[in-house]
């Protein structure tokens, strides 16, 4: 029984994955912890992400046409499989709520200072619920235009802020201790690159399974290029002061001033974040409800969308009490917290599948 009949093509997978990676990362640059060496962390994270992605694709291609929940059910049997699946889905749900937290933190801090968070999240949940009810095909279709738009915006903002960039801010090279850079690399590897583990739920919807690997790697590369542009802009414009701000990228956009006409362009970066945050949250909500429907053998995931969507919003509201708590969590806890979900479960599943020589029916792997 197929719960999702929608099909997306290779290019849509690419834009959807890129948009997913941009998610909250266009605002909170990955690796920003490493100061002026964040670009090393970004490329290190990219390599880490590629390795993780290859594991996911190896797993997916052993079970073509099956998503992660179906795979673990087959690998571990029904009871254990459902348990692992629920564990995994809980992560996706939590990740969705974390994006929601970033989202409402950002809006509270920059746009609507007095509006209650619950109203913002309710409003936002409504949009996401609507998108998820329309299915993966529509989300993917939306992602194409949005990602193109984002890339254009990014390049324009970068060109506009060129006059503000102090190239000496990048010096000295390789000054940070190795441990710090490695930690920052794991930070970028876990957020955002490792989060593509959610796509294990989406890969089966791609109409040409052979394209997945190429397109996913392209998506990672595209995201990395954009992050690099962003980090060069942030470091170049703000230098060491970058660490004073919650959203350094946003701040660097604020400093743009061209002939007193193009000023205060941080709104463009804000728009980017709102678009990509929407994409990421819809993908996560979609994968969560799809997985839940499969675990409990429901006929459709649609009735779950509204309640789970609002629960996600609610969880976003109570995740952290302050923004600094959120940052602390991101810097110190998250890179370790995600290891079971991003690495251990997929890897063990792959190993078990190899050992048990699954799938049994000859395995028409691609």
């Amino acid at each position: 029984m197929k719960l999702e009949k929608g099909k997306i093509d290779g290019r849509q997978l690419m834009t959807l994955m890129a948009g997913f990676l941009f998610g909250s990362a266009v605002l909170i640059y990955p690796g920003q912890w490493a100061g002026n060496e964040s670009w090393i962390a970004i490329w290190g994270g990219f390599v880490e992400g590629c390795i993780l992605l290859l594991v996911y694709i190896a797993l997916m291609s052993r079970f073509p046409g099956k998503n992660f929940v179906e795979i673990v059910k087959e690998v571990y049997g029904r009871f254990l499989g459902n348990l692992v699946a629920l564990f995994f889905l809980a992560y996706l749900f939590h990740l969705g709520s974390l994006v929601g937290t970033n989202y409402h933190d950002f809006i509270k801090l920059t746009m609507l200072v007095q509006t209650p968070s619950s109203v913002i999240l309710l409003f936002n949940s409504l949009v996401i619920v609507y998108a998820v009810r329309k299915g993966i095909e529509v989300i993917a279709r939306c992602s194409e235009g949005m990602v193109v738009l984002l890339c254009v915006f990014y390049v324009i903002i970068f060109l506009m802020s060129c006059s503000q960039i102090e190239w000496t801010n990048f010096l000295p090279f390789f000054s940070a201790p190795l441990a710090k850079v490695l930690w920052a690399t794991q930070m970028t590897g876990s957020f955002p690159y490792g989060e593509v583990v959610a796509f294990l739920m989406i890969f089966p919807a791609v109409n040409n399974l052979k394209e997945i690997q190429k397109r996913s790697l392209k998506a990672l590369l595209l995201a990395t290029l954009i992050f690099s542009i962003g980090s060069v802009q942030t470091i170049g414009v703000l230098g060491d002061t970058a660490r004073l701000y919650v959203y350094p990228g946003f701040q660097s956009g604020r400093l743009i001033n061209i002939a007193n006409v193009f000023t205060r362009l941080e709104i463009v970066i804000g728009v980017n974040f709102l678009l990509m945050g929407f994409l990421k949250m819809s993908v996560l909500l979609y994968t969560t409800v799809l997985g839940i429907a499969q675990v409990f053998n429901l006929k459709s995931y649609k009735p779950l969308v509204l309640p789970v969507g609002f629960l996600m919003g609610l969880a976003a509201l109570i995740n952290f009490s302050t923004v600094s708590e959120n940052i602390e969590f991101n810097n110190l806890v998250y890179p370790i917290y995600v290891l079971p979900f991003q690495l251990i479960i997929p890897l063990i599943t792959l190993v078990v599948a190899l050992v048990r020589k699954l799938p049994r029916n000859g395995g028409d792997s691609i």
Binding site: L112, Y130, I267
Partner: protein, 524 residues
């Protein structure tokens, strides 16, 4: 409770559908007087029904009769080509319909009918029925002619360069206008009648081999489903076959211009022509078609492209400008350049209402003025615009009821909305929604609203084609007429999203070539 109601509703719907439509068939009688009386009864002895009886043949005269409806027929034709020849027949043997079918009648369209129903239906569409005593059948002679409006330029789609003719209310004229443009046998007009009482003739036009067969079948299937008493305009057909009846966006396109219609047919679309309306519908209709004016293809490349983009800009302005104004002036003042902010603050000083109320109120005032301007006769319409412009625009600002910026914003919005005529309806609705969202959530409201509309548009389909194609999903080949308008000679394929079986529109490499310099010398 709800389930019970649903069950009840289903039962009702079934009961409505269940009686099999057994249209009673009455065979024609052989007695002429009986037949004529029956027909006259059927038509209710209407004063416009003309019934004439006469004798045919000298040696063995036979009683015959014609019935037609005055006003729907060409009287002259009936006199000269039907009655005159019949009255002059000098045959030895008695005349029957077989003979008449072959000779004497100088009429183009001729049909033998056996049943009362087809006969009456024919008479009602303007045919003349010819009956002969002693024969249980009749001839329907095509003598349609009625008063009609001449072909004139459509008021709603005026263009600068290009053809000036427009569709009219008569189906035949419209099909002829299309035939004149596409002189190929593959152009098909499949006709059906819809509406139990109005029996409106509806014509599905397409080019066989260019339009997908599946599409044509789908259009016909949807049209056949319509089971209603009357179709009076194309608009009501449009609402019966729409993909998304509860969407502010129409998924069925319309045009009053035969050249536009022909161009759409050439792209593999299907046109629906309804008798009685000069508006022809085309499907599938994609969002970006609203921005394509026939003039785009007539003007020089750069100008046409500029205008295309101005139209996109105008659409966004007409939807978003009041919302953006409200968001900026009430939430994000820091984004407005300081000088502008100061003059705006000076202009809105002392006005009693918040920006969102001003914008909504002035928007409503504008809609009222527009509606009044359309409905009123021309001379009075001018008075309305004077009242609108001077009294409401000028006086409200002077009296300090609303700020001057909001009047400027509403006026600009109003003018911008006229650049894209086929999206006026959706723009007017969305404008109000975005203004309200901006009033509550500021920029966040506008962005989330845009995402919402974008999802909605991306989820729509028009007869199987994604409504937002070729932008979502991206179809690179089709961007040639959406993102830019490339030179006509470069458009060598038909739109891929329409999925025509015949993709190639024209030869490649037909770029205009100029003979190289020096050829002039050969002339001497």
């Amino acid at each position: 409770m709800i389930r019970y109601l649903a069950k009840l509703f289903n039962a009702l719907a079934k009961r409505q559908r269940s009686p099999v439509k057994q249209s009673s068939v009455t065979k024609l009688d052989s007695g002429l007087t009986h037949n004529l009386k029956h027909i006259m009864d059927e038509l209710g002895n209407g004063s416009d029904v003309v019934n004439r009886q006469f004798l045919i043949g000298r040696s063995a005269p036979v009683l015959a009769g014609v019935i037609f409806i005055d006003g729907l027929v060409d009287q002259e034709m009936i006199n000269d080509n039907i009655l005159q020849p019949l009255l002059r027949i000098e045959l030895e043997r008695p005349v029957d319909l077989d003979v008449l079918e072959k000779s004497f009648l100088a009429v183009g369209g001729l049909k033998r009918v056996e049943t009362m129903e087809t006969l009456v239906e024919g008479v009602l569409t303007g045919d003349t029925a010819l009956l002969i005593d002693g024969q249980p059948s009749a001839l329907l002679l095509s003598t349609k002619k009625w008063e009609q409006r001449g072909i004139s330029e459509p008021d709603t789609e005026v263009i600068v360069k290009g053809a000036r003719d427009g569709f009219t209310e008569t189906l035949r004229t419209n099909t002829a206008l299309l035939r004149r443009r596409i002189e190929h046998p593959a152009l098909r007009f499949d006709t059906m009648k819809i509406g139990k009482k109005t029996r409106t003739e509806i014509c599905v036009a397409y080019i066989q081999g260019v339009a997908e067969d599946k599409l044509v079948e789908e259009v016909k299937k949807r049209l056949r489903r319509i089971d209603t008493a009357g179709i009076l305009s194309t608009e009501s057909i449009d609402q019966f076959i729409d993909d998304a009846p509860f969407s502010p966006f129409a998924t069925v396109g319309y045009t009053e211009r035969p050249d536009v219609c022909a161009a759409k047919l050439m792209e593999g679309r299907v046109a629906i022509i309804v008798d009685g309306t000069p508006v022809v519908h085309t499907v599938p209709f994609l969002f970006w078609e609203s921005f394509q004016s026939p003039d785009d293809y007539n003007f020089r490349l750069f100008y046409a492209n500029t205008m295309r983009w101005i139209r996109y800009l105008a659409f966004f302005t007409s939807v978003l400008l009041p919302g953006v104004y409200v968001a900026l002036s009430s939430y994000h003042q820091e984004l407005i350049p300081t000088n502008l902010l100061i003059s705006m603050a000076a202009a809105t000083e002392g006005t009693p209402f918040p920006a969102v109320v001003e914008a909504l109120g002035m928007g409503v005032v504008f809609e009222i003025l527009r509606e009044a301007g359309i409905r009123l006769p021309r001379p009075v319409g001018q008075a309305v615009s004077i009242v609108g412009a001077l009294v409401i625009g000028e006086a409200t600002v002077t009296a300090g009821l609303v700020g001057a910026p909001v009047v400027i914003v509403v006026a600009l919005t109003a003018i911008a909305s006229f650049l894209v005529p086929s999206q006026v309806e959706s723009a007017a609705f969305l404008r109000v929604v975005f203004t309200c969202l901006a009033g509550v959530f500021g920029a966040l409201g506008i962005i989330n609203g845009l995402i919402f509309v974008y999802i909605h548009l991306a989820s729509l389909r028009s007869f199987g084609v994604p409504f937002l194609a070729p932008v979502a999903p991206i179809v690179p080949a089709d961007l040639k007429d959406v993102a830019v308008r490339v030179p006509i000679w470069m458009m060598w394929t038909r739109p891929k999203s329409i999925d025509s079986p015949d993709r190639i529109r024209q030869a490649m490499r037909i770029r205009p070539e100029v003979p190289e310099e020096g050829h002039d010398d050969d002339r001497s």
